[in-house]
């Protein structure tokens, strides 16, 4: 009886000694599927700031109806200004045409997006390295896609109706 009890205790200890949270340098965590990068901020943060989300679109939205076709369905938030922030967006494998930080003004967004132009702004997006005037396409494989860096510029945020004609 004594030996099995001792063995059980040793097994328990050895199992418990293994693992747990450890200090992890900022970056895409291992086993993560999606994109990671650093957001750098410019300009003064508007007082009416509610929250800033990071999302990805498989195809660039061409109308209000496409506005909420982003991934992931529960978008991660990033700080409103401050030091450069290492963000990550969990995404399924695929091709994404627009990785964007969405600034939201204080207020309630209608579920149908009818007041999206009032409350939402494109605060910054990942740009094509060869032509920085265009969004950069990101391909997510079965692991992390790193260095998708971009700038959030509070002084030059774009209205929804600048991206496509609003009704």
């Amino acid at each position: 009886m004594r030996r099995p009890a001792l063995c059980a205790l040793l097994i328990g200890c050895s199992l418990a000694c293994n693992g747990g949270l450890e200090p992890t340098p900022a970056g895409c965590p291992s086993g993560f599927v999606g994109i990671c990068g650093t957001v750098t901020y410019r300009g003064a943060v508007p007082e009416s700031t509610d929250v800033i989300f990071t999302v990805a679109y498989e195809t660039f939205p061409t109308g209000t109806a496409d506005l909420f076709k982003f991934k992931p369905s529960l978008p991660p938030t990033i700080p409103a200004g401050g030091v450069p922030f290492h963000y990550s967006i969990p995404l399924p494998a695929g091709r994404y045409e627009w990785v964007v930080a969405v600034w939201k003004k204080l207020g309630t967004l209608n579920p149908n997006g009818s007041n999206a132009d009032t409350l939402l702004r494109a605060a910054g997006f990942y740009r094509d390295p060869t032509d920085t005037s265009k969004p950069g396409v990101v391909v997510v494989g079965t692991g992390p896609t790193n260095s998708i860096d971009f700038v959030v510029d509070f002084a030059h945020m774009r209205r929804v109706c600048d991206l496509f004609p609003c009704p």
């Binding site: 747990g20 965590p29 929250v51 529960l74």
Partner: protein
């Protein structure tokens, strides 16, 4: 070896006498006296310890005398036709390992092995050994039970719902104690020092308890107040381990906690009362984690007669605590270049957050035994919860009162049949800016009968509930249950029952925003969630001092209420899931050896929890349910010293929500160590919880307690 031709003997013949205690000489009431090997003639002693067996067959007859708590006696008498023989018997009292008596599974007293569903017990010994400070720490150690962010989860019934909408009903001495506004549980409502033991009924319990008893029932039972004067003082002090890495350090001192608990009672034959007062302070193990708790609990009993028992209980608690809310990730604090800082708060979301929370429960109960065949109980209760959350950018508060009355009767029509019938009314009134001003009225009527067929016990019953909100249209729900227990060397039990939970106001009308800007959206159209639960269980004691209990369970749930992201991705709303399935195995084994000096237990739960496919959503795991949960415990006592350990393993979640991708999904392995020294009226307990300082989180961005060493000194009078 006995009874020659009993069947053939026909002449009226008898045996009579008394049964007495060998030590005190007192008559023993309700001792069973049987004649013949097959127990063909049976009598029970009356209040004077007397019995009489009539029309016993002639010849040499063996008489057996049995009574719980005494060594059985066997005598042989020679009977001639027409004779009545006097046989006085004395029984020797013995210490017996009695089958535990439970009161929760059927809303009446029964033996543990007579329950149709699985019941786990946390005994006074378990509570004392673990040396913990809060009630939830005790319940968390029970087989098949798990806590997630203060929310109890039995057999995977609950995921993580920020503490609201509990699918487990909390009772205090049988009185419901579910918050009127949030539908959750305040685990600090009762001081641990006022609790005697805990009964945990697993599986659907709505056929007797109505809403919230969907996944199980936890009943905190206070001790009967003893006669004479008694007192107990417990003083506890301890400290939390500092973060193991300097990059995680957040303060330049070691955090500690202190607790003082005083319990006193005085009782006469007719009147008894007890009071417990507790004060607790903690520095916490994280940044912004300090808290103070004050608890008072009292109990008064009036034994008006041998058949009438009046009991009044009350408890009040106030908890003021800083709230870390969530730990910070890169950029959210002084991150020191790390992806996350589990000991530090997110300064943008958590800075300055704190909560004040008061709660009280008062109940009065009258128990009356009208006759050996009929007893009834009446009770009234009032639960008040009041909280104020201070958060950025604004706080919120809510006050909830829940009033309840219940009337219940238990009829034993003969030795083979027991019927329980009752009715319950509850009304909740809430106000405040957290969930608005609302009322809810719940009416419930229930009945359950147990019929013995030979040794087999068949149980069937149902409860009808009617829930009405804000004076509008109501919802009626029927919750039937059937069960079967087949006793023997191996006891088998099977049950099938339907359960439900009405949505709480916090799920219907949330108005708050979570940290990070995600706001909750009201959903007044939520339906009650319902579930059919099935269980097949078995229990056996292969060797004296051991017990093995295993159960297969299967739950088919409809309209489970779970948080979901709304269409625009910017709000969280509680919605009804189409269907969910939770199945698994619950196994527990316990044993003792070396004259009970060594005790050990093992419990294992396997879970298969799935949200079934609907619309465009494929079948997927239910969030925040582990597939494997294993607990091992062992204690060894040698004279005044005892040492023990608990080990718990939980496999990582198959699916999580609101979970940062930077955080690895872990399989926690936690070891607790303890030692106790007893000397006369004094006892010292040393406990090291999470001894190996395994750092992990169960809910998003919330670190569970690190290694904590505490020393408790207990004095009893």
């Amino acid at each position: 070896m006995l009874v020659p031709s009993l069947a053939a003997a026909q002449a009226p013949t008898g045996v009579r006498g008394t049964v007495r205690d060998s030590v005190t000489g007192a008559p023993i009431v309700d001792a069973e006296v049987t004649a013949g090997d097959s127990g063909g003639w049976v009598a029970h002693t009356n209040g004077k310890g007397a019995y009489e067996l009539r029309q016993v067959a002639t010849g040499t007859v063996v008489i057996h005398v049995r009574r719980l708590g005494y060594q059985s006696a066997t005598r042989t008498v020679a009977l001639t036709p027409g004779d009545t023989v006097r046989l006085d018997v004395v029984l020797v009292p013995v210490s017996l390992e009695l089958a535990p008596v439970i009161v929760t599974a059927a809303k009446r007293s029964q033996l543990l092995d007579q329950a149709v569903t699985s019941v786990a017990l946390v005994t006074p010994t378990d509570i004392a050994r673990r040396g913990v400070t809060r009630v939830d720490e005790v319940v968390d150690k029970a087989p098949g039970v798990q806590f997630l962010g203060g929310q109890v989860n039995i057999r995977g019934s609950s995921g993580f719902q920020v503490g609201i909408g509990s699918r487990v009903l909390l009772l205090v001495d049988g009185v419901p104690a579910i918050q009127g506004d949030r539908g959750g549980i305040d685990w600090d409502l009762m001081p641990l020092d006022a609790i005697d033991h805990v009964e945990i009924v697993k599986g659907a319990g709505s056929s007797l308890y109505g809403s919230a008893a969907l996944g199980g029932v936890v009943n905190l039972l206070t001790p009967e107040v003893a006669t004479g004067f008694h007192m107990r003082v417990r003083a506890t002090g301890g400290g939390f381990a500092n973060p193991p890495d300097t990059l995680w350090r957040f303060r330049d001192y070691t955090g500690g906690e202190e607790l003082i608990a005083v319990n006193g009672s005085y009782g006469t034959d007719a009147l008894r009362a007890s009071v417990t007062v507790v004060g607790h302070h903690t520095d916490g193990y994280r940044e912004q984690d300090r808290g103070d708790t004050w608890q008072v609990a009292g109990k008064g009993e009036w034994l008006a007669s041998s058949s009438t028992h009046v009991r009044a209980t009350g408890s009040w608690a106030r908890h003021e605590y800083e709230v870390p809310v969530v730990w910070c990730e890169y950029g959210g604090c002084d991150d020191r270049g790390l992806a996350y800082q589990p000991f530090k708060i997110d300064t943008a979301q958590s800075l300055g957050a704190y909560t004040t929370s008061s709660k009280s429960l008062f109940a009065a109960t009258v128990d009356h035994v009208a006759s050996p065949r009929l007893s009834w109980m009446a009770r009234g209760s009032w639960l008040r919860t009041d909280f104020t959350d201070i958060r950025l950018p604004a706080g919120e508060s809510s006050l909830a009162d829940r009033y309840g009355v219940e009337l219940r009767g238990v009829a034993r029509s003969d030795h083979d049949r027991v019927s329980t019938v009752g009715g319950e009314v509850a009304r909740s009134e809430i106000s405040g800016d957290a969930f608005g001003n609302h009322t809810m009225t719940e009416l419930g009527g229930y009945g359950e009968g147990e019929q013995r067929l030979g040794g087999t016990r068949l149980t069937a019953g149902a409860r009808v509930d009617y829930v009405q909100r804000d004076g509008g249209g109501g919802t009626a729900v029927v919750s039937p249950r059937i069960g079967l227990v087949i006793p023997g060397g191996i006891t088998w039990r099977a049950s099938a029952g339907r359960a439900f939970r009405a949505p709480s106001f916090a799920e219907l009308y949330p108005t708050s925003c979570l940290p990070g800007g995600l706001c909750t959206q009201a959903n007044p159209l939520l339906d009650p969630e319902t579930a059919w639960s099935f269980e097949l269980g078995t229990a056996t004691a292969p060797v004296r001092g051991t017990r093995i209990d295993a159960a297969l369970f299967w739950t088919e749930a409809e309209h489970f209420i779970e948080p979901a992201v709304s269409g625009n991705g910017l709000e969280i709303q509680f919605q009804n899931l189409e269907r969910a399935r939770i199945a698994g195995l619950d196994l527990s084994a316990s044993g003792a050896a070396w004259s009970n000096r060594l005790t050990a237990s093992l419990s294992y739960t396997f879970l298969y929890a799935r949200e079934l496919a609907h619309d465009t959503v494929p079948e997927r795991p239910l969030a925040f349910r582990p597939r494997h949960l294993l607990t091992l415990a062992a204690d060894y006592a040698l004279g005044p010293l005892s040492v023990g350990a608990d080990f718990r393993y939980m496999s990582h979640y198959e699916r999580v929500e609101l979970y940062s991708p930077a955080i690895p999904l872990l399989s926690p392995k936690v070891l607790d160590l303890r030692a106790t020294v007893t000397r006369g009226a004094f006892e010292a307990r040393f406990v090291v919880a999470n001894a190996l300082n395994y750092l992990y989180n169960l809910v998003p961005q919330t670190l569970v307690p690190v290694r904590t060493a505490t020393l408790s000194l207990v004095w009893s009078y």
